[in-house]
C-alpha cells in the first residue's frame, strides 16, 4: 500500500501549533505508522519534496521568504491545511501591521536599525509591510482555527485526511481557544 506523504511547516507562528501536534503523544507513533513524514522542522529533510499529500502550515506569512516558501509548497501539495489562528487569520504576528516594519525595527534596534535595514536580504529575509494569513497568499483547502488547535482536533483532522476525506472541524475548534 502506498502510504500518504505528510509534511508540516512553520512560518511566522510561535511553534505552539507544532507543539500541539506533538501533544498527540503516543498517538504520534500511530499516525507516523500510517503515513510518511517527508518534511518537518523535526526531521533533517531540507528541500520540500514533490507530490506531498497533506501539508499542515503553522503561522502567518510575514517575510518574503515565507511567501516564496508557501507558494512553492502549495505547488507541491494536494491538501494544504492552515493549522491554527496565525495561519487562519494572521493572529498575533499580524499585530505588527498597524505599526509598520520600520517602527518595529527601530524599536528593537534603536540606532542600529539603519545598518540592519541595509543588510536585510543578505543575512536575513525582508519583512513584508503587512503580515498575511496563508489563504491571502495561496489557496487553502482546510482551515483549523485555535491557538493552538487541541491535539485531539489535530488527531481527528489527520485521521480524516489520511482516510482520504475532507474533515469537518466545526465541532472541534473555536478561535483563540
Amino acid at each position: 500500500m502506498n502510504r500518504k506523504k505528510l509534511a508540516t511547516v512553520w512560518l511566522d507562528g510561535c511553534s505552539g501549533c507544532h507543539m500541539s501536534i506533538l501533544d498527540m503523544d503516543e498517538r504520534l507513533l500511530e499516525i507516523a505508522g500510517q503515513c510518511e513524514l517527508v518534511y518537518s522542522p523535526l526531521v533533517d529533510q531540507k528541500t520540500f519534496p514533490a507530490d506531498v499529500d497533506i501539508t499542515l502550515v503553522e503561522g502567518a506569512v510575514s517575510s518574503d521568504a515565507d511567501a516564496e516558501k508557501i507558494r512553492r509548497i502549495r505547488a507541491r501539495t494536494r491538501m494544504l491545511v492552515s493549522l491554527g489562528d496565525c495561519a487562519v487569520t494572521g493572529n498575533v504576528p499580524a499585530m505588527r501591521n498597524s505599526f509598520g516594519t520600520e517602527k518595529v525595527l527601530r524599536r528593537a534596534y534603536g540606532d542600529a536599525a539603519g545598518a540592519l535595514l541595509q543588510v536585510l536580504g543578505q543575512g536575513v529575509p525582508q519583512l513584508l509591510p503587512q503580515v498575511r494569513p496563508v489563504h491571502e497568499v495561496v489557496f487553502v483547502d482546510v482551515h483549523v482555527p485555535g491557538c493552538p488547535p487541541s491535539a485531539e482536533t489535530i488527531y481527528s483532522v489527520l485521521r480524516e485526511l489520511l482516510a482520504g476525506r475532507k474533515p469537518d472541524v466545526t465541532s472541534g475548534t473555536r478561535f483563540g481557544a
Binding site: 507562528g13 510561535c14 511553534s15 493572529n91 517602527k103 518595529v104 491557538c147 493552538p148 481557544a177
Partner: protein, 474 residues
C-alpha cells in the same frame, strides 16, 4: 583568500537560522556567524494595550515555553500592582514552571538531540529523527514521549490547557488546585522519576563515545548567569542573579534582577536579528556569559532534592572549576528533569497546596515593573512601563536564548575549526556544526521566530568566486 560556507537552514532546532563559515586559503575556518532570520516585534505591538492582557499575549511569543513568558509577564504585572502573591499561588506557579522544565527538556533531549546521540552524528539524515529513534530504540523513544507528556499533563491539569493556558494572572492564579487533580499528578510521578533516572544512567554510560564532541562543542571559558536562592541553591521561580566565572568563582552575587540594565548590555551585529547581551563590567565581547541548564548547575552550591543532588555532585566532579563544554548541556538537562520531578512531588506533598487563597487583588500602584523567571533555556526578564490608565507605554524583553548568542557563535567557530577542513565537505561535518547549536537548545520562536526550512545548500566558494564544492541535503 578565503571561502564562504553557508549552512541554510539549521534543522532540528526550534526556529529558523542559518550559519556562515568563512575560511582562509588553507581551508581553516576563521569566522563563524549564526544568523537568526526573523523578527516579530512584540516590544512594539504591546504598546497601548492594557497590562493585564500581557501574560496571555506574551505567552504567544513561544509555544514551547509559554509558561515562562506567562510567569515572567505575570510577575512584572504583580510588580505593577505592588502586590504580594499568596504563598499557595506562588507554589502552584512553581509547579507549572517545573512541569514546563520537564516537557521542554524532554523535547530537546528526546525529539531533537537524541537522534544524533543514539543514531550517530554521521547517521543517514533520512533516519536521523525521532521516528528513526522510534524504529531503532522503541522503548527509549516511547519513554521520551511519555516524559514530555508528563510535563504537559501537569500543565493541563493546573492551567486547563497544555499550550497557552490562561491560568496565571496578575496577583496569582485564577483557580485553586483540587484534591482530585493533585492525586492524579501524584500518580504520574513514579513513572516519570523512573524514566529520568534510567535515561541518566544510559547517558552516562555512553559519554565516553562523545569524547571528541565534548572536547570541541563550545568548550571554552565564559561567565555563567542564573537565579539562586539567598543560600546559593538552584532556583527557578524567584531569587536573585548570580554570575560565576570559568573557575567557578563568584563574580557577582544576589543582584536584583529588576536592575538588570545596570549590569547587562546588548550589542547588535548586522548579520542577525538576535541581539548579543553581555556582562557590562567586562565589556563586549569579553563579557560573554552562558545561561540555562549548564549555567544553573555551575552557579549553584547545591540542588536541594536528594536524587538530583547526588547527580549534581557527580556532574560537578567532571571539572575542577565550572563545567565548560556545552555538550554537557544535555547532561545538565537530564539532571534538571530529575530535580524538577522531585521538586513537584515535594510541593504537592504539602497539604496547604489545596488552599483556595490563590489570588490577591489590587489597583495599579507602580508605573514600572520587572518580572523574572528561569525558563528552560535560561533567565527570562519582562520589563513594562504603563501610563495612568494601565496601558503599556514601553516594554523590554530579555530572552533566554539571547543570552547565549555570543557563546553559540563562538561554539560554531570552535566546532567548524575542528571538523570542517579543506576542499571537501561531508554531511557529518555539517551536522556537527548544527549539533553544537542543538546543545544550547535555542528557542528562536522566543527571540524572534522564523520559518521552517529552505533547502540546505552548503557551498564552498573560492576567493575568485568559483564554486569549489557544494553539498545538498535532501
Amino acid at each position: 583568500m578565503g571561502k564562504k560556507i553557508v549552512i541554510d537552514p539549521v534543522t532540528r532546532i526550534e526556529g529558523h537560522a542559518r550559519i556562515t563559515l568563512q575560511t582562509d586559503d588553507q581551508g581553516v575556518v576563521q569566522q563563524a556567524y549564526f544568523h537568526v532570520t526573523q523578527l516579530r516585534g512584540f516590544e512594539t505591538f504591546c504598546a497601548g494595550r492594557p497590562f493585564y492582557e500581557m501574560p496571555n499575549l506574551m505567552a504567544r511569543i513561544c509555544g514551547i515555553c509559554p509558561v515562562s513568558h506567562l510567569l515572567a509577564s505575570a510577575k512584572a504585572c504583580d510588580a505593577l500592582l505592588a502586590i504580594r502573591v499568596p504563598p499557595v499561588a506562588v507554589q502552584l506557579r512553581r509547579i507549572l514552571n517545573l512541569a514546563q522544565v520537564v516537557q521542554s527538556h524532554a523535547l530537546s533531549f528526546f525529539y531533537l538531540a537524541s537522534p544524533d546521540l543514539l543514531l550517530g552524528m554521521d547517521a543517514d539524515p533520512a533516519e536521523r529523527n525521532i521516528l528513526g529513534v522510534a524504529g531503532a530504540h522503541p522503548e527509549l523513544a516511547r519513554s521520551g514521549i511519555r516524559l514530555r507528556q508528563f510535563g504537559q499533563q501537569i500543565i493541563e491539569l493546573l492551567g486547563g490547557k497544555r499550550i497557552h493556558p490562561g491560568w496565571v494572572v496578575p496577583g496569582g492564579v485564577s483557580e485553586p488546585l483540587s484534591g482530585e487533580k493533585r492525586e492524579r499528578m501524584l500518580a504520574m510521578i513514579p513513572e516519570a522519576l523512573g524514566t529520568a533516572q534510567s535515561t541518566l544512567v544510559w547517558f552516562k554510560q555512553n559519554l565516553e563515545k562523545y569524547r571528541e564532541e565534548i572536547r570541541t562543542f563550545a568548550n571554552f571559558p565564559s561567565l555563567f548567569l542564573g537565579l539562586v536562592t539567598a543560600e546559593g541553591q538552584a532556583e527557578y521561580y524567584d531569587g536573585q542573579l548570580r554570575i560565576t566565572d570559568a573557575q567557578g568563582a563568584i563574580v557577582a552575587d544576589q543582584l536584583d534582577p529588576a536592575r538588570y540594565a545596570e549590569f547587562i548590555e546588548e550589542a547588535v551585529e548586522p548579520f542577525t536579528f538576535l541581539k548579543f547581551p553581555y556582562y557590562k563590567p567586562l565589556g563586549y565581547p569579553g563579557g560573554m556569559y552562558r545561561v540555562g541548564p549548564l549555567a544553573r548547575l555551575n552557579i549553584a552550591e547545591r540542588c536541594g532534592t536528594p536524587l538530583a543532588e547526588q547527580e549534581w555532585v557527580e556532574f560537578r566532579e567532571i571539572e575542577r572549576g565550572a563545567v565548560l563544554s556545552s555538550f554537557h548541556y544535555h547532561y545538565a538537562r537530564l539532571i534538571e528533569i530529575l530535580h524538577a520531578i522531585e521538586s513537584i512531588l515535594r510541593i504537592l506533598e504539602d497539604p496547604e497546596i489545596l488552599s483556595p487563597h490563590v489570588r490577591a487583588n489590587a489597583a495599579l500602584n507602580n508605573a514600572e515593573g520587572v518580572g523574572v523567571a528561569e525558563a528552560p533555556r535560561g533567565t527570562l526578564l519582562h520589563h513594562y512601563k504603563v501610563n495612568e490608565q494601565g496601558l503599556i507605554t514601553w516594554a523590554n524583553l530579555v530572552i533566554a536564548t539571547g543570552h547565549n548568542n555570543l557563546a553559540m557563535n563562538r561554539g560554531i567557530l570552535q566546532v567548524a575549526r575542528q571538523y570542517v577542513r579543506g576542499e571537501k565537505l561531508t554531511e557529518g561535518m555539517l551536522n556537527r556544526v548544527e549539533a553544537v547549536i542543538r546543545t544550547f537548545d535555542p528557542c528562536l520562536s522566543c527571540s524572534t521566530h522564523a520559518a521552517g526550512a529552505m533547502p540546505l545548500v552548503v557551498r564552498l566558494v573560492g576567493p575568485d568566486g568559483a564554486l569549489r564544492d557544494e553539498v545538498r541535503r535532501d
